[in-house]
């Protein structure tokens, strides 16, 4: 019984603090201070959580290597780069502590070099794949299959033609139309989604705080 009740109660109490301190002030601003302290703590907790992930990565990849299952060589690369970059990173972090200068200097070269030469190019290239993917997705999706799809297509075409300098020479009003669609119908739809979603999120939050919704705790639904 406790297994279920304690987490639900903790969740409720932890949720009460930001709500109360958002609306009310207290003597000596104690409420706000308590709220800030809890938030500080949770930032630290999320730091500890990263290690959970690291353990999982080691578990999965070590098993892959020992079973020689498909892609086991890549698992070695993965773990090796994790260990190397992680070690550089830890050296970097601890070098900031007084008396720990011997582990390295802050902003050490290995860490920065891997960041600049490997991490950053990989990251931005992965991001840049989107330029290709938007092209193929647009080609496939913008078809006048029915009225809704037709509206999607029409709005997209106004925007796309409004960017083409040759088309704009003939139809000079298109950029203005684009702005109108973006600031008119588009803004309206977004606003509707945002208001609806905010109310939906609020209702979900109440369900969570009251312990009605608890699949995230691995607990049975309902009461």
């Amino acid at each position: 019984m406790l297994k279920k009740k304690i987490p639900v109660l903790l969740c409720f109490l932890a949720g009460l603090l930001p709500i109360i301190s958002f609306f009310f002030t207290s003597p000596g601003d104690g409420l706000r201070e308590a709220n800030d302290t809890l938030e500080q703590w949770l930032v630290v907790v999320s730091g500890f959580a990263l290690l959970l992930g690291v353990i999982s990565v080691f578990q999965v990849n070590l098993r892959k290597i020992s079973n020689r299952s498909k892609g086991w060589v890549n698992a070695i690369y993965l773990l090796a780069s994790l260990v190397i970059m992680g070690a550089f990173g830890l050296m970097d972090a601890f070098s900031e502590m007084p008396g720990w200068g011997w582990v390295g200097t802050s902003g050490n070269t290995g860490f920065n070099w891997i960041f600049d030469a490997i991490f950053q190019p990989l990251q931005s290239t992965m991001f840049s794949l989107l330029a290709f993917y938007v092209a193929s997705a647009a080609f496939r999706a913008f078809r006048a299959r029915n009225l809704e799809a037709g509206l999607l297509l029409a709005a997209a075409m106004v925007v796309m033609l409004g960017i083409n300098p040759y088309v704009v020479k003939v139809l000079p009003f298109l950029p203005e139309w684009t702005r109108w669609i973006m600031n008119g119908p588009n803004a309206a739809a977004q606003r509707g989604i945002i208001i609806g979603a905010a109310l939906g999120a609020a209702s979900m939050t109440l369900r969570i705080l009251l312990g009605i919704e608890r699949s995230w705790l691995g607990l049975q639904e309902g009461e």
């Binding site: 092209a135 080609f139 913008f142 078809r143 299959r145 297509l153 796309m160 020479k169 000079p172 702005r179």
Partner: protein
């Protein structure tokens, strides 16, 4: 297999190939896609043209590397325009991730390598223009909106030293600029929200004229401020950058020579953008034509 079947079952990699090719080609062979200068851009150019030599422009670097292709050319064109007209520039950065590096990178791209702490103060690209006298870079300060408010009271308190940690009072130009009153206008090269703050706070509350160069994605939002008169000029995305760059290049040969030396500048980006958009547009149209023909054919068979 006829063309329509090919289009209907198009392997997406053909599209990837076209996009890739046309992202490279304009960098080597500029296509010179037409640029129609819009009033929002013209007004920045006209404003700078109307300034008297010695007047000061504040340039705020409010973006990071990921939007560099859009924002870099805007900053460059303005710096070159200003220096060509003997105006003075105070640069600073308010964007938390990477703004400070963008600032030093674009400044050096325009004026040449600098090393003020070791006495390398004179611009190689604009001979006679001196760091600290004609242009100065104050570096980055966090705090966003709060910082902008504080700058109204005293810039020296917000930026006690420049990018190279030299006290601002040691340079003639930075010593002179103490508040928004000392500059003619502010140009925010922005991604995201910081440019909006320039409009709705610095312009609306402190009355400093503001111009913004923003990314294409945030342009519709910014045009609302432009239309409301909270900024006197707006460069939107690569298109706006290319328009302004064109105006500057057409009138200042030095700026033209310097710009065309670069691997990348706004006109090339505009080429890529308009060509890629055209390709996607054409394929969407072909796809729809094929789809409609196909539908008609199946209907006739029924």
């Amino acid at each position: 297999m006829n063309f329509m079947d090919w289009i209907t079952n198009l392997d997406r990699r053909w599209l990837y190939l076209l996009v890739g090719v046309f992202a490279i080609v304009p960098l080597i062979f500029p296509l010179g896609m037409p640029v129609n200068v819009s009033p929002a851009v013209q007004s920045l150019y006209d404003h700078v043209e109307g300034m008297n030599p010695g007047e000061i422009i504040m340039v705020s670097m409010d973006y990071g590397p990921s939007t560099g292709p859009e924002n870099d050319p805007m900053a460059c064109a303005l710096i070159r325009h200003a220096l060509s007209r003997d105006l003075r520039i105070v640069m600073l950065a308010l964007y938390p991730i990477g703004g400070v590096n963008e600032g030093i990178q674009e400044l050096q791209r325009c004026v040449g390598d600098l090393d003020p702490p070791n006495g390398v103060l004179e611009s190689t690209k604009f001979p006679g223009k001196i760091y600290g006298k004609d242009f100065v870079y104050l570096g980055y300060k966090d705090g966003g909106l709060a910082t902008m408010r504080q700058m109204n009271e005293n810039i020296h308190e917000v930026f006690p030293s420049d990018y190279w940690q030299t006290p601002v009072t040691e340079y003639e130009l930075s010593n002179e600029v103490q508040g928004y009153d000392d500059v003619n206008f502010a140009f925010s090269v922005a991604t995201g929200i910081i440019g909006e703050w320039w409009a709705n706070t610095v312009n609306a509350q402190f009355g400093l004229p503001v111009a913004v160069g923003c990314t294409a994605v945030s342009a519709p939002k910014y045009f609302a401020y432009y239309n409301a008169g909270q900024m006197f000029a707006l460069l939107g995305g690569l298109k706006g950058a290319a328009e302004y760059e064109r105006l500057v290049l057409d009138n200042y040969p030095q700026a033209k020579a310097d710009t065309e030396e670069q691997v990348f500048y706004a006109a090339k980006g505009w080429d890529v953008q308009s060509v890629v958009y055209s390709i996607i547009t054409i394929f969407i149209i072909l796809g729809n034509v094929a789809y409609l023909l196909e539908r008609r054919r199946t209907r006739m068979q029924l």
